[in-house]
Structures are given as structure tokens and as C-alpha cells.
């Protein structure tokens, strides 16, 4: 494989050749980007908050794990196909709507149940909002200064964006942003844990490392975060340094875990938009007709892609009639299998399949 890849490499692609692997390149580029952004954001490193140093290291380790995992994943034939074709189709008219529904409002989770939706909005948005606040602070892209007259300046990327009264609503919201999001996450995680107790659905298939660890980590992050606030306000900062370390540690562990466990869906999920675009676009291009009944059941392109992907995996489903099994619609494919067992061509009998949905 290695040798073949080297032979096939296009000449003149110097940037790619300079690095031992995609991994090294992506890693280098992101760390450089982070450094440059921080340099600008902190006005040449004059506003670095050294308390947040651990987070910086954590983030960099996280980026390493992230690329390691994602490059391996992107190399899988079916993944590569959807990524490649999906990215080309990124600018469809429906993209903004699909993105909002898939990535922000989670309409499809709503259809799985209002409980599950509420739970996910609390956890998901709680985390996303926290990141919006934390990361700019850690890397110095945003910080606050105080004027003499009791006004706060919010400074983003070295520029003053807003000046607000120190006891105003916006100021209060920004001091408390992380407390609010922490409460959201705690509520959401509790809902998830409660569901595991009550609902057998959530209980099946669960492994500690995959299923519980991310929930406990999110809980730990949020609770230690809230504890920090509590100590500041009610204990005049007593115990703060220790708690701060525990909090930092829990965030770092969560970040490092993220690319490998359940939370890996966060960076993976935008692919669902690519997949939707891929399906919509190629459905408009032309639909595949079932070799048996003629029903249009999938786009010509996807049918071909799946057959190719199976081919790469050395899976070749040839029907003795000459076509690939993937070229039959689902009911016909099932009847075709019955026909292989019985010897009677069930799929050729022009009768719609009996109702296959039992109502529990």
C-alpha cells in the first residue's frame, strides 16, 4: 500500500511532500493557526492569562487526538466518498435550512421524543455556549478591561467591541454565562442518567467507557465549574486553587477523550448535512429502478457508490440473473431471498408485500 501510494503521488505537490503524513500536516497547520490567532488576540502576548495554561496544553493534545482519529476515519472508502461528493455539493439552496435543522435545532431528535430532544438541547447547547465563552478567553481572543467609571470593555481580537455598565444585564450575563451553561449541562446529563434507569432502550448496549464516562465527565466539569463560583461568592475564594485544578483536569480529560468516545459525534455530525445534500442532489439527477419491479428506490449515483464501496471490501453480491443485489428495491430483495430458500420465485409474483409492521 505504502509503496503504491508513493508512486501515485502527483509531482509538484510540495506542501504535501514536506510532511510525513496528513496527520503531521494538519497538526502543524492548526497549532500554527492557534498561535497566530492568540498572538493577534492578546496584542502580541501582552494579555496572556497564565492560570489557563493547562487548557492550552489540553487543547493542543486534543487537536492531536482529533486529527489522528479523523484522518483514519476519512480514509474509509464510504466515508471518503460522502465527504468528497458532499463537500462539492456544499452550496445547495437547501444547505442553510438543513444545517440549522440538523446541527442547531435538532428537529430529528425531536421526532425521537421530546424528552430526548430536551436532554440534548440542554447538553449540546450548554457545551457549545460554554466553548464560545471559554476558548476565546483561554487563547486570549477575548478579554475584559475595566474603565474607571464602572464600565467594562469587552475586547475581541484586540479590538474593543462593546462597553457595558458593570452592573448591567449584559455584564451580568457574561459573568454568569458559564454558570448558566453549567446548570444546563447538569440538567441534561441528569436527564440522560435518569433515562438509563427508567428506559430499557437506553440500557441496552451500554458500555462504561463509551456510554457513562462522557456523561460523568460532563457532570464533573459542570459541577466543579459551579463550585468555583460558589467558592468565590460564598467562601471568599477558600479552596479555590484546589478546585480550579480539579476543574482544569476534568476539562482536559474530557477534551482528550472527545475524539474517541461517544462525544466524537460532535465533530462528526456535520457530515449528516453532506449526506442529505448528496441524497437530494443525486436523486434529482436520476433514480435507480428496481431490476424486478421497476420502483425507483435510490439515486443511480448512490447505488453505484455502494456497489463500488462493497467491491473495495471484496464483497460482490451477484444475483444469478446477472445484476447486483443492490439493484433490487428492498421488498424485492427480501422476496428474492425467500425465493432462494424455497426455489419458488416469490419476487416475481405481482403482489405487494404483506404488512410487515407489527404494532407493539
Amino acid at each position: 500500500m505504502q509503496a503504491k501510494a508513493a508512486v501515485n503521488q502527483k509531482p509538484g505537490n510540495t506542501l504535501n511532500n514536506a510532511f510525513a503524513s496528513h496527520f503531521a500536516k494538519s497538526m502543524f497547520l492548526s497549532v500554527t493557526a492557534l498561535a497566530i490567532l492568540s498572538f493577534i488576540g492578546t496584542r502580541m502576548f501582552t494579555h496572556v492569562d497564565l492560570n489557563l495554561y493547562g487548557y492550552m496544553v489540553g487543547t493542543i493534545v486534543f487537536i492531536g487526538g482529533f486529527f489522528y482519529r479523523f484522518i483514519a476515519w476519512g480514509e474509509r472508502p464510504p466515508t471518503k466518498l460522502i465527504l468528497k461528493k458532499g463537500l462539492k455539493l456544499l452550496f445547495r439552496k437547501s444547505t442553510p435550512k438543513t444545517s440549522v435543522e440538523h446541527l442547531a435545532t435538532y428537529n430529528f431528535i425531536w421526532n425521537r421524543g421530546i424528552y430526548r430532544w430536551t436532554q440534548h438541547v440542554l447538553i449540546g447547547w450548554g457545551c457549545i455556549l460554554s466553548c464560545f465563552v471559554t476558548f476565546p478567553l483561554v487563547f486570549g481572543w477575548m478579554y475584559f478591561t475595566m474603565d474607571d467609571n464602572g464600565h467594562y470593555n469587552i475586547i475581541a481580537m484586540g479590538m474593543k467591541v462593546m462597553t457595558v455598565p458593570a452592573d448591567g444585564i449584559i455584564a451580568n450575563l457574561s459573568y454568569n454565562a458559564l454558570n448558566i451553561t453549567a446548570v444546563m449541562v447538569i440538567a441534561g446529563v441528569c436527564m440522560a442518567l435518569y433515562r438509563r434507569l427508567k428506559n430499557m432502550q437506553a440500557r441496552a448496549e451500554q458500555k462504561f467507557l463509551y456510554d457513562f464516562l462522557p456523561l460523568y465527565m460532563l457532570l464533573l466539569v459542570s459541577i466543579t465549574g459551579l463550585a468555583l463560583t460558589f467558592m468565590n461568592i460564598f467562601l471568599h475564594g477558600a479552596g479555590q486553587p484546589a478546585m480550579s485544578l480539579i476543574h482544569q483536569w476534568s476539562v482536559i480529560i474530557t477534551l482528550i477523550y472527545l475524539p474517541f468516545g461517544k462525544l466524537a459525534h460532535i465533530p462528526f455530525r456535520p457530515m449528516s448535512v453532506l449526506a442529505r445534500n448528496y441524497r437530494e442532489h443525486y436523486a434529482e439527477q436520476g433514480m435507480k429502478e428496481c431490476k424486478v419491479c421497476g420502483d425507483q428506490f435510490v439515486s443511480v449515483e448512490q447505488s453505484k457508490d455502494v456497489v463500488d464501496v462493497l467491491g473495495v471490501n471484496a464483497i460482490e453480491f451477484k444475483a444469478k440473473e446477472g445484476h447486483h443485489l443492490a439493484e433490487m428495491c428492498l421488498p424485492c430483495r427480501r422476496k428474492y431471498r425467500i425465493a432462494q430458500f424455497s426455489g419458488f420465485p416469490t419476487h416475481e409474483v405481482k403482489v405487494k408485500e404483506a404488512n410487515q409492521n407489527a404494532k407493539g
Binding site: 432502550q201 457508490d305 403482489v351
Partner: protein, 186 residues
């Protein structure tokens, strides 16, 4: 002792208990993931069940861009992980038997998981637990071997998984009787 699902197709009487039982398994959200077909619907009442055969090299999982279909250590090919499935439906096109179902509203694939919360502890899956006609059974390899001896009529008519399937599967399928003109003694 490891047991597997074993299908003796022609025993099926079409009661669809397996479909109803499937809806009741933990994690199935009251939707069944298996099928029962009339073999020759306009002529007679013979039926046969069809379910995921849990391929050893599952096409559904190989075609999934999100790695949402995991293979359990027991060999069961699980339903899509709810947080990973991106709704591309590759798996439905890839499966040689047309097994995975897709819910468009939920943007989620669901398929037989061999009632993994039961079978991982050696409890038979729901369908095999309720089948009144011994079409669906939960047997050890030894028991399946004995069946083979019992039905082996020295005429090459032991019809089992291969070559009637596309590849090796963890579920074993068999058709030892009437449809081949062989009288079967229970």
C-alpha cells in the same frame, strides 16, 4: 455455551408472533425489525420469516460512512448508534437481504440487534422466545450439528446457510423438509 439463532424456515405458520415480540424488546421502541413473507401468496399459505442473519462480514457495516453499525463481541451486528447515524441509507442499499429499516422523520436507521441486552447474557432473542412452531430456535453449535444428522437423508438435501446465502453468517438457516419433498419427522 455459546448459542445461536437457528431458523427452520418451513415450520413457519405465519402467526407473526416474532414480529410482535420484536417490538417488545428493550431498545426496540415498539417497532419490529424482522419480516414474514408469503412464499407463494396467490396459491398457498406457506410463509417464511426473514431476519438479519448477522453476517460475519456485514455489508451494512462496511458501507456505513459513520461507523454507526458496530459488531458486538458475540458476533451480533448491532443497530445504528443513535448519535452516529447520519442518515445516508447506504446500509439499506448494501445489505444483500434488504434488512435495515430507515426512519425518515428520525433520520435514523434501525435493524435487528439480536436483542443484544438478552443474547449477550445467553437469553434467547425475543423472536426465538415466542415462536410457537420451532421455526426460530436458540441452539448450541452441537445441537445444530445433531439436527443436521437427524435430517441428513444421504441425498444431499440438507439445505443450510451456504450456498443459499451470500456469505457466512452467525445465524444459521435451514430448510430440511417439505419444500424439498422430504417428509420430516419431528
Amino acid at each position: 455455551m455459546k448459542k445461536r439463532l437457528y431458523l427452520e424456515l418451513e415450520n413457519c405458520i405465519g402467526c407473526r408472533s416474532c414480529l410482535a415480540a420484536c417490538t417488545q424488546c428493550g431498545g426496540h421502541e415498539e417497532r419490529n425489525r424482522n419480516y414474514v413473507y408469503d412464499v407463494n401468496p396467490l396459491v398457498n399459505r406457506q410463509t417464511m420469516p426473514l431476519m438479519c442473519l448477522h453476517c460475519e462480514n456485514p455489508a451494512c457495516a462496511r458501507s456505513c460512512p459513520a461507523q454507526a453499525i458496530q459488531i458486538h463481541e458475540t458476533g451480533a451486528v448491532l443497530s445504528a448508534l443513535v448519535e452516529k447515524c447520519i442518515g445516508c441509507q447506504n446500509c439499506t442499499i448494501a445489505c444483500p437481504y434488504g434488512i435495515p429499516k430507515f426512519d425518515h422523520e428520525q433520520n435514523l436507521m434501525y435493524k435487528c440487534d439480536l436483542c443484544i441486552d438478552r443474547t449477550k447474557d445467553g437469553i434467547p432473542p425475543m423472536c426465538a422466545s415466542v415462536c410457537p412452531s420451532n421455526t426460530l430456535q436458540w441452539l448450541t453449535d452441537e445441537e445444530i450439528e445433531n439436527k443436521k444428522k437427524q435430517f441428513n437423508l444421504d441425498n444431499g438435501k440438507w439445505v443450510t446457510s451456504m450456498p443459499y446465502l451470500e456469505g457466512e453468517t452467525n445465524v444459521k438457516v435451514n430448510l430440511p423438509g417439505i419444500l424439498q419433498g422430504i417428509t420430516k419427522l419431528f
